[in-house]
Amino acid sequence: MVGFQKWRRSESAQGLFLISPTLCFALLLLAVPLVMVAALSFWTQDYLTLDRTFTTANYVTAWTEPMYQYLMARSLKISIFVTVATVFLAYPVAYFISFHVAPKRKAMWIFLITIPFWTSYLMRIFLWKVILGYNGVVNGSLMGLGVIEQPLSFILYNQNAVVLTLAHAWVPFAILPIFVALERVDRSLIEAAEDLGDSRLRRFLRVTLPLSMPGVIAATIIVFIPTIGDYVTPRLVGGPNGLMISNMIELQFKKANNAPLGAALAISAMGIVTFFALVFLWMNRKYVRGPS
C-alpha cells in the first residue's frame, strides 16, 4: 500500500493519469476491436454461427487465392502511384511557400491550402465525378471546343480516376510536413553551399533536399498508409477495375457473409502496411540526426 502511495506521486504515474482519458478511448475503440478482428481471422464462418476452433485456413486463402493477391497488388500499386503523385505535387508547393512567400504571408498561404477541407470528403469525390463524368465538365469543354468528337471514357470509373481523386484529397496533408521540414532548413546552409561553388540545382540536390527528407518521408507515410485502405474513393469513382482490397474486405464482411476471411484479409493488409511503414521509418532514421 505504501508502495502504491509512493508510485501515485511519481512523475510517471502523473503522466499516466494525464493521458488516461485518451488511453481509455484508444483502448476501447482501437485496441479492443483490433484484437477482435485478429481473433475472428482465426475462426471459421459456419453459415449463421462462428466455429471458434483455431485455423489458419483464412490466411492460406487470403495469401494464395489469385483474386486476393491481385486485389492486394492493385491496392499497393494505386497507393504507390497516389503517394508518388502527391509528394511530387506537394513538394513544389511547400518549397514555394517556404522559400518564396514573404514570412508574414506564410500563415495565410497555409490557411488557403486547408480550404478544400471545408467541404466534406464525400462531396469532393462527387465533384470529381461531375468533373470527370461522361457528360462532365472535362468532356463537355473538350467537345465544345471541338477537340474531341466522343466523350472520353478513360477518365472516370477506372484506376486513373482513383489516383487523381485520392491525390487531390491528400496533397494538403503532404504539403504540411514538407513545409515544416523546409522551414527548418537553416538558410545559411544554402548560402554556404552557394559560397562553396554549387549552382542553384546542385545546392538544392546536395543540401535542401537531403535536409527536407524527414518531411518527405513523413508525407509519404501520411499518404501511403491511409490510401492503401481507402474504400470510398474506389467504390465511387473506381468502376469495376478500380476496386481495391478494402472493397473486398467490406464484401466479405457483408454480402459474402464470411467475416473471418474478411478479417484475415484485413490483418494481412495491415501487416503489409506495417512492413512499408517500418521501411519508411528506417529510411527516416538515416536523415534524422541530433540537434545541430
Binding site: D186, S188, L189, E191, A192, A193, E194, D195, L196, G197, D198, S199, R202, R206, V207, P210, L211, Y287, R289, G290, P291, S292
Partner: protein, 360 residues
C-alpha cells in the same frame, strides 16, 4: 606596389528607403588581414555579404583581383566565407563538409582526399574526419568552417563575426590561431567584428564603420593613437573628452582654450582629423597619472576621486576635474608599493600637452 585584391568604389546599398551602405570607397591589399569594425547595424556585415555576392549593390563597383564582380553570383567568385553560425552541413561528417567545395569543382577523388586531409590537419582536427557534425563543440565547428573554406584556396577569405559565439578563453585562443593561419596560407582575410579589441589584436588594417559609412581606415596603432574623429576615438578603447575651443592657428601651432585645463598651445598634428570643426580634446586614461608624494609631471591638475574600480593588475579611477560635470577616467597600473586611493580622496593628476588630441 601590388594591385589591391578588393577595390570598392562609390558603393551604395539601399533596402527600400533605408540606406545600409553609402559611398563606400575602399582598397584591400593582397595578403593583408583586414577588419571591418563597427557597432551592430553599421553595415559591416552587409558590406561583407556584398563582397561574397549575397547582396546586390544599388550602385558603385566592386572589383576582386582586378575583375568586376557585377553580375557574378556567389558561387563563381574567388571568395569563400566563414559564416557567423558556421553553417556546418548537419547531414555530413567533418570530412564531407570539408570536401563539399572540392566536389562542387568536380576534382578527382584522389586529389580531394589529399586536400581534405591537409586542410583538416591545418586546423588541428586530425582524427575527427568521420565525426558527425552535430557531435562537435563550438570551437571545432569553427575549425571545420575554416578548413572547408581554406581548402578551396580562395583569393579572399571572408569571416563574419567568427568568434562571437565562443567563450572568452576559446576566443582568445582562436584569435592567435586565426592570425597564425593567415600568415601560413598568405590569403587575404576580411574579418567583420564589433569587438574593437579583437580587431586591434588581429588586423593589419581596420576600417571603422558607422551608419553605413566608413569613418576611418588605418592600422591598429594609428587608429588607437590618432583617431580622426571623436566618434572613432570613443569606439576604439576608452577616451576622455573635454570641451575645447580653437582660438588661433599659426603655422604649426594651434591655440586652444580647454575646459578645466585652460589655454594651451598644441601642435597641428594633434588635430588628427583636420582643424575644421574641432570642438573637443581627447585624452586616453593611461596617458593620465595620479601623482603620489614628490612625483611631478609636465602639467598637473587637482581632482577628486569619485569612483574606484579595482581589477587586480589595474585600478580604474573616476576623478572629477574642476569645472567639468562628467568624471574623467584614469587607469593606473598597480605596481609595487602603489597605494589604491579611496573615493573622496584628493588626487593630483599629471598630464602632458603632447598626449592630447584635438577632435571634432
Amino acid at each position: 606596389m601590388t594591385l589591391p585584391i578588393i577595390r570598392l568604389s562609390g558603393l551604395d546599398k539601399f533596402y527600400g528607403e533605408f540606406q545600409a551602405l553609402s559611398q563606400i570607397n575602399l582598397d584591400i591589399k593582397t595578403g593583408e588581414f583586414f577588419s571591418l569594425l563597427g557597432p551592430s547595424g553599421c553595415g559591416k556585415t552587409t558590406l561583407l555579404r556584398a563582397i561574397a555576392g549575397f547582396e546586390t549593390l544599388s550602385s558603385g563597383s566592386l572589383q576582386i583581383d582586378g575583375l568586376s564582380m557585377e553580375g557574378v553570383p556567389a558561387n563563381k567568385r574567388p571568395t569563400n566565407m566563414v559564416f557567423q553560425s558556421y553553417a556546418i552541413f548537419p547531414h555530413m561528417s567533418v570530412a564531407e563538409n570539408v570536401a563539399y567545395g572540392l566536389k562542387a569543382r568536380k576534382l578527382p577523388k584522389v586529389e580531394i582526399k589529399a586536400r581534405v586531409a591537409e586542410a583538416i590537419d591545418m586546423v588541428g582536427l586530425q582524427g575527427f574526419d568521420e565525426r558527425a557534425s552535430h557531435a562537435l563543440s563550438g570551437g571545432q565547428r569553427q575549425r571545420v568552417a575554416l578548413a572547408r573554406a581554406l581548402v578551396l584556396k580562395p583569393r579572399v577569405l571572408l569571416l563574419d563575426e567568427p568568434l562571437s559565439a565562443l567563450d572568452k578563453k576559446l576566443r582568445e585562443q582562436m584569435q592567435s590561431e586565426l592570425r597564425r593561419l593567415q600568415r601560413a596560407v598568405g590569403i587575404t582575410f576580411v574579418l567583420v567584428t564589433h569587438d574593437q579589441e579583437e580587431a586591434l589584436t588581429m588586423s593589419d588594417r581596420i576600417a571603422v564603420m558607422f551608419d553605413g559609412k566608413i569613418a576611418q581606415v588605418a592600422s591598429p596603432q594609428i587608429l588607437y593613437g590618432k583617431p580622426s574623429t571623436r566618434k572613432v576615438a570613443a569606439f576604439i578603447g576608452m577616451m576622455n573628452f573635454l570641451d575645447a575651443k580653437v582660438l588661433a592657428a599659426s603655422g604649426d601651432n594651434v591655440e586652444v582654450e580647454v575646459q578645466s585645463l585652460g589655454k594651451l598651445t598644441l601642435s597641428l598634428e594633434q588635430a588628427t582629423g583636420g582643424l575644421n570643426g574641432c570642438d573637443s580634446v581627447g585624452v586616453r586614461p593611461e596617458m593620465l597619472t595620479i601623482l603620489t608624494g614628490s612625483q611631478t609631471s609636465e602639467r598637473e591638475i587637482e581632482a577628486e576621486v569619485t569612483e574606484v574600480s579595482y581589477y587586480g593588475d589595474m585600478t580604474y579611477y573616476d576623478v572629477k576635474f574642476p569645472s567639468k560635470e562628467d568624471p574623467i577616467t584614469v587607469t593606473m597600473r598597480n605596481t609595487a608599493g602603489r597605494e589604491v586611493l579611496e573615493v573622496g580622496a584628493k588626487a593630483r593628476v599629471g598630464w602632458s600637452t603632447s598626449s592630447l588630441l584635438l577632435l571634432k
